[in-house]
Amino acid sequence: MKARVFPLAGAALLFVGIVGVGLLFETIQGGSAAERLVTAMFINAIIVVGIQIYIGNTGVFSFGHIGFAAIAGYAFALFAIDPSDKAGRIADAPFGLADVSASVPVAVLIAVVVSVVIAAIVGIGLARSGAQSGAIAATVITLALLFVTHEVARSWSDVTGGERAGLTFGIGETLDGRVAVYGALFASLAIALLFARSGSGRLAKAGREDALAARAMGIDPRVQQTIALLLSVAVVAVGASLRVYEVGSIQPGQFFFDYTLLTLVMLVVGGRNSVTGAVVGVVTITFVRELARRLGSEGFEVFGLGLDGVPLDWVFREGLPRVVLGLAMVGFMIWRSKGMLDDWELDEWLRRRFTSDQEAPMPAEAHSGTAASNQLVARDVIVDFGGFRALNGAEMAASSGEVVGLIGPNGAGKTTLVNVITGMVPPTSGVVALDGQQGEIDLTSAAPYKVARAGLVRTFQNLRLFSSLTVLENVEVSKLVAESHRPSERDVGAEELVAAAGLWEHRDRRASELDYGNSRRLELARAAAMNPDFLLLDEPTSGMSDSESLNMVEHVRGMAELVGAGVVVIDHDLQFIVGICDRVYCLDQGSVIAEGTPDEIQADPAVQAAYLGSAANT
């Protein structure tokens, strides 16, 4: 319950802010034109906040939201417009659409349902395409939606009234008063902020930051993206219905390129990763655009300055508002691509301002009680990359409580073996099985997020943190997954793990601000938060000095004991491996050539030959 206080307070403040600015402008300006401008601003805010829910949380770029808005707008108009007003335009409409009618709230509901159903279908497509930040497929699919919707609206005149005429409300039957707009505006702000703080929203953001790392932490980004899409489209649909209701008519051009541009500029100028940014963007662009419009049509006369003699006629013309929008878009992309506020969020600021400074939690005690007896086995693993056999019958086994090392020269297949075990590379043949907390599971070729949920959690050779999330959020994200997929009677909290990693003082900093050693420790804490049966560490000391890597030995042991996990570690650093491992496998050319204690391995002639080259090889 308490978790919802700040988002709701944030929504209330944002609501008061934008409504206050609007009413102030109205009072100063007076007149129905100002009133219409302000109403349009509120409605645009609903739609832009709706779009932010998707783009901001998932990082997937959508050109298609205005296409959803068009669908919702037509659905709303078809049901809300009185049959007598439709008769002249679409008398021949199929399915009896010419005769249906519904009250405005019901029509809005229908619009939401229709557009959400279509969004679900599009969402399946987007999920199938593996949409992620920067994916071209998402751009193509959403852009196609926008164009297809537009073309259909233009051509299917039996239903839409065609390109020019469209559908029109009867006189005096359009939006009257602002109560509905206020209600929808507050609701959209609350939904957006609550979603951003919800489990689903935070998992979506993890996927936005690094889809691969998210999957390795047991997150299936497609699920969160789809939830975000449906919620986002529902909000947009309400906004679109209000827009049609306010304007009193709908034509295909109303929800097309120009409106896409306007809403996107508002979103990216304010800051697409923040609801506050979206609102600030809407307000800023609304007034900048209005100023440009007036300068364009009236020149300096607007300010009563009488500077009309100044030869600026070539600037103050029709088209100026569009130029300003375009320049705002390009300018922000060049100089501040994350917008004015980036991901600064009002409710988060409130939370930090009004919650007292916490003490670092006491370091948790190491996992005790009955020792787990989990087993991880990989057998006869063969991986072919085209004609190259990267793994040739490799095998390894590990039990809980022990630290197992994988060593071998470059190209021996160490990382490939970990990739096979964690589901990132499907083996050509072979078996990966885990006998752990959840019983015996065959994990051969399982999806990475399923492997993570089963209890094998990895870190990456080239650090993959959720870089714009805070240190604490990085760990909390894993904790969220663990709560639903890996329940444990002895739960080590996210804050405890952050403290145990020695990162308590950095907990509210972005992960990207940490130095290298701290980043490595955070990655380890994030993996440990999954409450894993086994931690798989891919070169945890790469790039570290000798003293740092010795430090890391203690650290890895501590974390593993804290959550009661076995460890499999890959490294080049022999000192590290000898210092930490109970047992070591040595790989060369895709097969295990030796297995034993670190001392045995160091003495093994085959290992020495593999590392140093033997007489037979030269």
């Binding site: 395409s129 193509v140 073309e151 013309r317 088209g319 691509s337």
Partner: protein, 295 residues
């Protein structure tokens, strides 16, 4: 059968223009990973240059090379002013930048010359036909096909046989590695924009000849065709882009002649929808080689 052949040739005429546009889109996508929504603006700007030139009583023979030059210069200016500053930024940033450029160019034109459509005379022979057996071929289509063939041959030569072409292909395959191997990235990217501009210029000549007019938002249509054709061809694959353009042209002509007109106007929407559908299953593009991400 005859009508099918007729459609095919008409379609190739139309498709040749799309192929040139798509090739320009694909070249830029190859080196920058940017889907250039501003590609059509090259034709818009060239169109106004043509209007000005006709105002000075120049003939098509002089206007045609002018269009190519204006298109190349415009392409280079856009690169210099905007794209060079977002190089290496996220796809999101680059995409929105190109979107912004599209808006700025059309809005500046509205401000400077007005929103109204400007017309000019098509060449007198544009609708002349030559009868070959049962076929009636437009001179224009034949000219387009011939010029496109020559342009593509020249482009192929440029890409396959010159150092610039080699650097461009290397950069398209792996931009960072190409830079490390000593490829001058500025030069390659400027070269890519010049090439893209030249191809759009050649396409623009025919586009404008046929249209006989231009207006501030005239760039949307050619941009859309170029992007669609490049998408059909798999984005980044140059050969694919050309084939995609030809396929799009033929498909359009076939659909227009076979379907009732109320459905035929949906050709673009249908094609776009199909492409989106295919992208669901081949998210990296339809022909593109997948680059596995290293972990």
């Amino acid at each position: 059968m005859t009508s099918l052949l007729q459609n095919l040739i008409d379609g190739l005429g139309q498709g040749s223009i799309y192929a040139l546009l798509a090739l320009g889109v694909a070249v830029i996508f190859g080196v920058m990973h940017l889907l250039n929504f501003a590609h059509g603006e090259l034709i818009t700007v060239s169109g106004y240059a043509a209007v000005a030139a006709f105002g000075s009583n120049l003939s098509w023979w002089l206007v045609a090379p002018l269009i190519i030059v204006v298109s190349i210069v415009t392409s280079l200016v856009i690169e210099r002013v905007a794209f060079s500053r977002v190089r290496g930024a996220s796809e999101f940033t680059q995409l929105l930048t190109s979107f912004g450029i599209h808006i700025i160019v059309s809005a500046v034109l509205i401000m400077s010359v007005g929103a109204s459509v400007k017309t000019f005379a098509e060449p007198p022979w544009i609708f002349d036909r030559i009868d070959v057996g049962p076929l009636s071929l437009e001179k224009f289509d034949l000219l387009v096909i011939a010029v496109t063939a020559v342009t593509l041959a020249a482009t192929t030569w440029l890409l396959q046989r010159t150092t610039f072409g080699l650097s461009l292909r290397a950069a398209a395959a792996d931009f960072d590695t190409a830079r490390l191997m000593g490829v001058d990235s500025d030069r390659v990217i400027r070269g890519a924009f010049a090439l893209s501009g030249a191809l759009a210029g050649v396409a623009g000549i025919f586009w404008l000849m046929r249209a006989g007019n231009t207006d501030p938002s005239a760039g949307i249509d050619p941009m859309l065709k170029g992007v669609l054709a490049a998408l059909i061809g798999g984005l980044g694959s140059l050969r694919g882009a050309v084939l995609g353009g030809l396929a799009l042209g033929v498909a359009e002509v076939l659909l227009r002649s076979q379907l009732p007109s109320s459905v035929a106007v949906l050709t673009d929407a249908v094609v776009f929808g199909l492409i989106a559908f295919l992208f669901i299953f081949r998210p990296q593009g339809l022909i593109t080689v997948q680059h596995a991400e290293r972990v």
